[in-house]
Symmetry: C2
Subunit: 199 residues, 2 copies
DNA sequence: GTCTATACTTCGATAGAC
DNA sequence: GTCTATCGAAGTATAGAC
């Protein structure tokens, strides 16, 4: 009745956290495909088998990597919005180049690692809801009617723009980016100034 | 003085085209990481070595894959715009789910395949310029002043939105998409109706 | 043009010693 | 908790037969 002898390391282990840190660096610098147990072990100064000791499969590692990052991002955004809930602040939070790189890598990863898909979708929804409520609340405070532009659309447009600019910048292709950033910021500032309010 | 004996198949070969077709399908369905010489050969009904006969390295295959698709997309968009240059038509062209999936995969690929980076950047610029000119021309025809919203920003917002929705939809996450599509279309129609024209 | 044979590398994963 | 030993599978790539 006894199962396999395989052991798994504790979740609060320092080595485990270190492996995740190094894996995160590698993911950002070289892409997810470069994060293999052997390379990760070497980079972290441990044997590749230790990677498998802490993460049963590489899928598990990627899921943990995503979860850790997403959880932290969610917390960070939540706190930032509590301090400053203006539209420009929301925009600043979405324009995170490293975050965009992460999204790309995981979006591609999830294409052939189905276990990741559900995980990502769930966080996506939570994240979107958080942002949506923030925009909706701000619109309400400024007296901007829904019909001018639904918060959902504002969000998709803002995050979409930020995302695409990050990706392009990663290729050394930044044509028009400055103009877009400037215009967007000014537009948001005009909304903040009450230009669209009906109260 | 004679180099290596290695041969490479002709570019107009039918087998070569078939390999690219199958590779394209695989890329879309399972992600770029799933496109290996062995798997591709098996799927295409030939030996994996034939893949290497037509493409010296896998990098070459991915570059060809990208180039073929990009070239065709560029041509398709060019022709479509010649027939119908309205903003709604431009929007329809950017909302291509399969195209977005492609972009994601290649954006991630280029992260660790530097040879692809230059190739993608070049096409990106050409594509963007084409779209930009189309929007600018349409704005001019409708008498919409630059200050309302620079064509660059229109493009980044539209393609950004389309892109992000495709990615999310790929995760089965479509909250707010319908609303965004409807609103965007109506907005573009209002612009087309001359609501922002000054002439 | 396509295949077989083959070399060499790297990968993920497990068992067991210390 | 970390390592050594080890497996089998899969990867890219080349040479040469037909």
């Amino acid at each position: 009745m006894s199962g396999p002898t395989r052991r798994i390391g504790a979740e609060d282990s320092q080595s485990r956290a270190h492996l995740l840190d190094v894996a995160e660096q590698m993911l950002l610098a070289e892409g997810a495909a470069a994060v293999t147990s052997r390379r990760l072990g070497r980079r972290a100064g441990v044997s590749s088998q230790l990677v498998h000791y802490y993460f049963r499969t590489m899928d598990d590692l990627f899921i943990e990597l995503f979860r850790r990052r997403a959880e932290e991002g969610l917390r960070r955004v939540e706190q930032a919005l509590a301090v400053d809930g203006t539209l420009t602040a929301i925009w600043d939070l979405t324009s995170n180049p490293a975050g965009a790189l992460f999204n790309i890598e995981f979006a591609a990863l999830a294409n052939h690692r189905k276990a990741l898909q559900a995980e990502i979708a769930e966080f996506g929804e939570r994240y979107r809801r958080l942002q949506h409520d923030a925009v909706a609340a701000r619109f309400a405070a400024l007296g901007v009617p829904e019909e001018v532009c639904p918060p959902t659309v504002v969000l998709l447009a803002l995050t979409g723009m930020a995302q695409i600019m990050s990706i392009e910048a990663n290729f050394g292709f930044t044509t028009g980016h400055d103009e877009a950033v400037t215009f967007t910021r000014q537009l948001l500032e005009r909304v903040e100034a009450g230009e669209w309010g009906v109260g």
